[in-house]
């Protein structure tokens, strides 16, 4: 993937926005990769969890907000419990989901969900899913 850095370095505005939404300090991350190593879903992500942080630092807004990684993160907090710098990546992922939803992305279309699923699923699956995946 080609990343273009301008003479003045990457734009910091996206990183600042994510920091303000998540309350997390992105500069604490030194790319050890523990989050990616412990993540149960990283095998199915187009960008690994540690790469998500790096790309936000580098202002790669479009790539990150269009990734499937932010939707496949289930907030299990394995990353946070193993991070040597106590970066809560789940908050960063949640901020990115909210930014993506605000820009009109719709990962789950509620009316397209099968009736069978709505009837048989535990309420908590619906409530949690709606809170995470629906604008």
């Amino acid at each position: 993937m080609k990343i273009t850095l301008g003479p003045a370095g990457p734009s910091q505005s996206f990183a600042r926005l994510v920091e303000s939404l998540s309350g997390e300090d992105l500069s604490k991350c030194y790319q050890c990769g523990n989050c990616t190593g412990g993540c149960p879903v990283s095998f199915a992500m187009d960008i690994a969890p540690s790469q998500v942080i790096r790309m936000v630092q580098l202002g790669q807004e479009e790539t990150v907000l269009r990734s499937n990684a932010i939707w496949r993160c289930v907030s299990c907090l394995q990353c946070y419990s193993r991070c040597p710098k106590c970066v809560d990546l789940s908050r960063i992922m949640e901020s990115l989901r909210r930014l993506s939803l605000r820009r009109g992305h719709e990962p789950v279309t509620v009316y397209a969900l099968p009736d069978e699923f709505i009837r048989r699923s535990p309420q908590m699956a619906l409530v949690a899913g709606f809170r995470k995946l629906v604008p």
Binding site: C76, Q78, Y80, G129
Partner: protein
């Protein structure tokens, strides 16, 4: 002893066996679960971004009811537990969010409720030694995989035990006379709310939990989360159907296994018979009441 109890939505609907088996078996231990007189959905997932104060209103409201009931509340569902505990922690430590929410909910004194999972009640208030003393049907020879999942262990300040090397669930099973198996996937995620959007991914995540428990010799897997239960059971059904596997690992709630050890019948506890239910395993182990009549006169 009476203890305020928050059942939550799922236990009132699709996971009634979990609720019923808990009320009955904890009564056998001399504890009464007193349902909060008024409660609402906790919102299931804790709102992760600090700006999302409105997401704290649901669990905040439950905590207000808990405070009216004496300041302690017990839960069974792992998600409810996690959301209520983290909300209380946040309201305790973050004056900004506490003040906004207090003004919205027209209350004060948020952030000082003690949120307990029932396993904590059993360990700290009843005591596992006392549980063991009340066991009338020791689950001898039954190898059980204690599945913690995410919400009982993470984050560390809301965990019921050490997040990386917990033992509360294993100690609980040992008190019942069962043999907890040592297995690596006990704190891995089952796929959670991806049940809504990515069932193939959930099948893979839940499948690796099931096969890990089986490879380590488990006869049964036990959980405290209705969403884990749903994902594990539905994934297993799909795996059996699509991949032609024949070995089944029944999944049951920890309160059902508690009730069984305390002498309750499988029907009262909602333990399903048949291949997918725990019945066939329990029969094979001589732990199904038909094989062991009350009083132990087999």
């Amino acid at each position: 002893m009476k203890i305020p109890y928050y059942p939550g939505c799922t236990l009132s609907t699709v996971a009634q066996d979990f609720d019923r088996s808990a009320r009955q078996s904890i009564r056998d231990l001399g504890v009464e679960l007193e349902e909060l007189s008024k409660w609402n959905c906790c919102g299931t997932s804790f709102p992760l971004t600090p700006e999302n104060v409105i997401g704290l209103a649901g669990p905040g409201n439950v905590l207000i009811q808990a405070k009216k009931a004496g300041g302690t509340v017990s839960t069974l569902c792992s998600f409810c537990y996690n959301t209520l505990r983290r909300t209380n922690n946040t309201l305790k430590s973050d004056a900004g969010r506490r003040d906004v929410l207090a003004s919205f909910l027209e209350t004060d004194g948020l952030g000082d409720v003690k949120v307990l999972h029932l396993l904590e009640v059993l360990r700290d208030q009843v005591g596992f030694a006392e549980v063991k003393a009340k066991v009338v049907r020791p689950l001898k020879g039954l190898k059980v995989a204690a599945y913690y999942g995410c919400m009982l262990l993470r984050p560390a300040d809301a965990a019921i035990d050490h997040p990386e090397s917990p033992k509360i669930f294993e100690d609980f099973l040992t008190a019942l006379g069962a043999t907890p198996v040592d297995w690596p996937n006990r704190g891995e995620c089952c796929g959670s709310h991806l049940a809504m959007s990515e069932t193939d991914l959930v099948k893979r995540l839940s499948g690796s939990i099931l096969s890990s428990a089986q490879a380590c010799g488990a006869d049964l897997l036990t959980t405290s989360c209705p969403l884990c239960w749903h994902n594990l059971v539905k994934s297993q059904e799909a795996i059996l159907r699509d991949e032609g596997k024949e070995t089944v690992l029944p999944v049951i709630y920890f309160t059902q296994i508690l009730g069984l050890a305390l002498g309750e019948g499988p029907e009262a506890l909602g333990i399903a018979d048949g291949v997918m239910g725990a019945g066939s395993v329990l029969k094979a182990k001589g732990l199904w009441p038909a094989a062991v009549p009350a009083g132990g006169k087999a």
